[in-house]
């Protein structure tokens, strides 16, 4: 699993790496759910700096994260999104629904 997790108080930062596609989506989604339900973060930061490719499977993952954080009454932020992944998020209109960029 190319996913590292570092938690500081109520803020959880995830560094996503490699290619986010359907092949990896299920494992990533399970990981996301486990982390959010055990840490109950007030803020979840998805660090995209290590993502080399993303397709619409990544959109489903981001929307899942958004719903989970909404249920917790917390925030979701996407950080360091590379060009290709950003184009996918924009084509789907997701950039208008989630917070993007550094703090």
């Amino acid at each position: 699993m190319e996913l590292t997790c570092r938690s500081r108080s109520c803020k959880t930062r995830w560094k996503l790496t490699g290619e986010i596609d359907h092949h990896r989506a299920q494992a990533l989604s399970r990981e996301l759910e486990r982390e959010v339900s055990t840490r109950l973060p007030g803020e979840l930061v998805l660090d995209f700096s290590g993502v080399t490719f993303m397709d619409s499977s990544g959109i489903a993952l981001v929307l899942r994260a958004s719903r989970l954080m909404e249920e917790l009454g917390g925030r979701l932020r996407l950080e360091s999104v590379p060009g290709q992944a950003l184009r996918v998020l924009k084509a789907a209109g997701i950039h208008r629904r989630v917070e993007l960029g550094e703090e």
Binding site: D21, S56, S57, G83, Q84, R87, A91
Partner: protein, 147 residues
């Protein structure tokens, strides 16, 4: 118009082949000296179409997926992804943003992304017979680049 070059690949509908299909398409497109952005768009479109064949074409069984790549003299790249699986009952509905028959892990944005990253997307499908998605994109001309 006759293609300048053409390749055809056939693989089983295993999700591990999604990455393979993307890389193969990127390798073929590299002959056309695309920009980094164009290369990303092509890989994304291939990933969407191939994933659909794997996930929706053959939801419970393993089947054959074909990827054909063609390069034309006017710098058009044609990508055709075909499966012989379930087929799509209503293609117009399937094209709509957010429409999905998949579960939580699908977004329903696959066709929307293919349409926004490619110049043209044609879908032929018959329920019970399979689906064929043909996409075209004309790459920008690059001064000094190879034909």
């Amino acid at each position: 118009m006759k293609p300048v070059n053409s390749v055809k690949l056939e693989f089983l509908s295993r999700s591990a082949n999604e990455g393979f299909a993307r890389s193969a398409a990127a390798c073929f497109a590299a002959q056309m000296d695309p920009t980094l952005e164009e290369l990303g768009d092509l890989k994304t479109a291939v990933s969407e179409a191939v994933t659909n064949a794997i996930v929706h074409g053959y939801p419970e069984e393993l089947g054959k997926v074909s990827l054909r790549l063609r390069r034309y003299e006017d710098r058009t790249l044609e990508i055709r992804v075909q499966d012989w699986g379930r087929g799509i009952p209503d293609v117009e509905k399937a094209r709509e943003p957010m429409f999905t028959t998949g579960g939580e892990e699908r977004s329903g944005m696959g066709f929307t992304i293919m349409e926004s990253f490619m110049d043209a997307v044609k879908i032929r499908s018959r329920p019970g017979r399979g689906t064929c998605v043909t996409m075209r994109k004309k790459l920008s001309s690059r001064p000094g680049g190879r034909l």
